[in-house]
Amino acid sequence: MLLLSWLAPVVLLIVWELLAQAGWLSPQVLPAPSKVVRTAFKLATSGSLLNDLGASLLRATAGFAIGGSVGFALGILVGFSRIAEAAIDRSIQMIRAIPFLAALPLVIVWLGVGEAQKIFLVALGVAFPIYINTTLGIRQVDPKLLELGRVQGLGTLELIRRVILPGALPSILTGVRYALATAWLALVVAETIGAQSGIGFLAMDAREFLRTDVIVLTIAIYALIGVAADGIARTLERRLLAWHPNYGSAR
């Protein structure tokens, strides 16, 4: 079955390669896969590809860390405190209704087109899914288990550590997965504007010179990083939710 599932993509690649080799596909439109691989190798050995990759990953990580922390902290606050919910939840829900990419022009006015703008945009995209899923997870903790915690004499902190956070974790991790996806989207958009490094910069630079091989390469890299991020999220879920019938390895 695994073999079969890989068959179609491989056939597609071969057909693409053959069409390009036969000259049916103009290299200006879509370069052959082999050409893209050669370009990747060339850029990698010259060092610029790794630099750009590093720059992109750094922005994504920084933005994720900042946005994730803010979203998580606010989520915890609103999840635990009705007062905090009354005070800030509606505002957050209203801001959330704006597609965060629509805020880009404003972000550029505020922060220019430097690193801050890119990290901010990623953080903005990450904070909401983490926030929403954290509050949701805390709300959904089984009240019967909370009551049990009290019966067993747990203090507030112990109750949070032993019952509430583990109970909210599946939801929080779902938020992390969404956040990873939006982080990439934010990065792609942010890097196409005024970047001096990064995968997005590479793509924009290549566009100027009609280097479709480089453009296709950057798209492939975005895809690969997306897959890798999803893999990390899945591994986290399998590890942390081993107890959960929907995630654990032993079904």
């Binding site: 019967k144 009551e147 049990l148 019966v151 067993q152 112990e158 032993r162 081993a242 107890w243």
Partner: protein
């Protein structure tokens, strides 16, 4: 022995004493001027028709709900076993059993408790791998590992099949004989009451309407039909209004 014949105050104190308990939901009075005393090591079973306030009483004794009047004197935090096992699905069995146990040898004590309920080999297993009866045994171990002076059980075996239930009766009897907490067991099962109780109470209209002390050795045991009559089942016996 004789030198120490004078009992310490702690030994005389009951596991729980309730006087004049009142509890109402809005204008609906559920418990009215209820008095109850359970000695340490005494096994009390509470019967009563559905909705008569058994769970309300048990939750008040557990300190889970506020009361509207009266006094409850319980020496220490009681242990509770609910109808559902309420095991934390994200914790292994020993972590579940030792929940709230502030001891360095928590794992060791959890292991002992799990062995007592016949699950000594499954310390690191997940709750979801347990059958209903096994899960309820873990809940029992979790209650007893706290060494409670008062053990409150709200229909803990109601969801189990008849055979498992009988096994659980034997287990509970043994464990209570060893740990000797005062026990209040709520059930709908008259046979369960007869099998386990030192004393059977029937609750009606917010108070204890009937009480029967079982005489285990010799003396006539209460007839099942008498108890059923008290519960207003299968009899022409009118229930006092």
């Amino acid at each position: 022995m004789t030198l120490h014949a004078v009992p310490s105050p702690a030994a005389i104190a009951p596991a729980v004493a309730v006087t004049g308990l009142h509890r109402a939901y809005g204008s609906r009075v559920v418990i009215e001027n209820l008095n109850l005393r359970i000695e340490r090591g005494e096994f009390v079973v509470l019967l009563g028709e559905s909705g008569c306030g058994k769970t309300t009483l048990l939750r008040a004794l557990a300190g889970l709900d506020a009361i509207d009047g009266g006094r409850i004197t319980a020496p220490r935090r009681p242990a509770v076993v609910f109808q559902e096992h309420r095991l934390l699905p994200w914790d292994s069995l020993w972590r579940n059993v030792s929940l709230g146990l502030n001891a360095t040898d928590a794992r060791q004590r959890a292991a002992t408790a799990l062995t007592e309920v016949g699950l000594g080999g499954r310390l690191d297993d997940w709750p979801r791998n347990l059958s209903g009866g096994q899960a309820q045994r873990v809940a029992l171990a979790r209650a007893l590992v706290q060494e409670p002076e008062l053990l409150l059980l709200d229909e803990p075996f109601a969801a189990l099949d008849a055979l498992t239930r009988i096994r659980m009766h034997d287990l509970v009897r043994e464990l209570v004989a060893v740990h000797r907490p005062g026990v209040l067991l709520v059930t709908h099962d008259v046979d369960e009451a007869i099998a386990l109780a030192d004393r059977i109470l029937v609750m009606r209209e917010g108070r204890i309407a009937f009480e029967h002390r079982m005489k285990r050795n010799g003396a006539a045991p209460i007839a099942r039909t008498d108890l059923l009559a008290e519960l207003g089942v299968g009899t022409s016996h009118p229930i006092p209004a």
